[in-house]
Amino acid sequence: MTGVQLVQAEQAPLLARRYYANGDPGPIVAALAHVPELLEVTMPFLDAALGPSAVDARTKELVILRTSAVMGCRYCIQTHTVVARNSGLSVAEVAALRGPQPLEEAFTDPRELALLRWVEAVAAGPGPVPAATRTALQRHFEDPEVVELTLLVGATLLLNRFCTALELPTSPKVLRRLAAEGWA
């Protein structure tokens, strides 16, 4: 049961049709298709923010999965558990990112721990993010990376709230994979 009807292929608006060309586009597109002019700008933005870029896939998945866990987004946690595993994260690392056990049990690289502390500070809000947390991050990341990773937290927050508020369904394929690997 979703919070809104998902737009099916035969009702896909003109600006949305290309997203349906290869079959089911997934619930995020199928929800955004109600407002094609937003779909048209949101998907390229999400692709740029979450997709392949100058920052490696593993680092990006740390950000996406940890942000989603902080926000308690069922859809994003489930979907990105699979993506994170596909990106090379170990079972222990994914489990730590999903919480609630301490991150230090799975992560020892100071660079990644500094990033995860930054993610938690940005995602948990509200109010200012501690300068010390940013300073710790900047010991390991250049400004362009800081900007990109911070925007990635923001883009993930957008998705977290969108998917949670509209109760978007996790794909059966993801659910089968989670079940096969013993994820709750």
Binding site: L14, V35, E37, E40
Partner: protein, 275 residues
């Protein structure tokens, strides 16, 4: 010159913008695109919004307006609104021709001096065949109303929407509209489009973007490709020809429509004679 104005000038984009004034109607025709009937939700665009859209349409470079529904003349403000719209751009208003009381006809008299036209639906030359599709007494009311509009100097166009019509019947129909005061140039015959209620009755031809002129069409639900776009079936709005939900500013859907039109492969112009 704006991109829209250039596209209209070059024939890339049709010049007319359609406004869906409302969705309710005093009739319930068997092939109605919007499943309109007396109890249908009104979903009015409203006077102020229609005027604002017309003003922006002319500023963008569109060259004409169309008003449709539902039955637009169920809206009490329509006669005066049409005059104001015609002061902005030439306008054609579609009507089933059955609600023209003497008082309403008098209020339409100013249209005689303006670039305005009322397009009345008349499908068959005889009452029985016509009324089978459009409801009891439709033929009588329409053939009564048309000469009274013409007498007042209002330009009338007749639209015939049919599954098929043979030469003999077409000749009888043309003889009728000439007697009513409507010249051949103001009579169009077009196919039923298989959308809305026509789907349930197995009527009409399938039509997609490749078949329908890319006329920007504004409704309370959004902007569509062609006035044949914002159809209703099973009580649900069809969105397959939706362009944008945003209708104001009009430049938003106009730009999106232009992008869609320019992205079409060559030779994809409208194929059906749907006007």
């Amino acid at each position: 010159m704006s991109p829209v104005a250039e596209a209209v000038r070059d024939g890339v984009l049709p010049g007319r913008v359609w406004l869906y004034a409302n969705y309710h109607c005093n009739l319930a025709c068997t092939y109605c695109l919007t499943e309109s009937y007396p109890g249908a939700g009104r979903r009015e665009l409203g006077e102020r919004r229609m005027l604002a859209l017309a003003q922006e349409a002319t500023e963008l470079g569109f060259t004409a307006l169309g008003v449709t529904g539902g039955e637009p003349f169920l809206l009490p403000y329509l006669p005066e609104l049409l005059a104001r719209l015609a002061g902005i751009l030439p306008v054609v208003c579609l009507s089933n021709g059955t609600v023209f009381t003497e008082r309403r006809l008098e209020r339409l008299r100013p249209l005689a001096e303006l670039p305005a036209q009322i397009q009345v639906s008349l499908d068959r030359p005889e009452p029985d065949a016509n009324d089978a599709m459009r409801g009891p007494e439709n033929f009588r009311k329409v053939v009564d109303a048309i000469p009274r509009l013409v007498e007042r100097g209002v330009r009338v166009r007749i639209a015939t929407t049919v599954q098929a019509i043979d030469d003999e019947e077409r000749e009888r129909l043309c003889g009728l509209h000439r007697r009513l005061g409507v010249p051949d140039a103001d009579h169009v015959i077009r196919p039923i489009v298989r959308r809305g209620r026509a789907v349930d009755h197995g009527l009409g031809v399938d039509a997609g973007p490749a078949d329908l002129p890319a006329e920007l069409t504004i409704t309370t639900d959004g902007a569509f490709w062609s006035p044949f776009g914002p159809t209703v079936h099973g009580g649900r709005l069809d969105t397959d020809l939706l362009i944008t939900r945003t209708t104001m500013p009009l430049r938003v859907p106009a730009a999106a429509l232009l992008r869609l039109v320019e992205a079409r492969p060559p030779g994809s112009d409208a194929q059906l004679n749907i006007q």
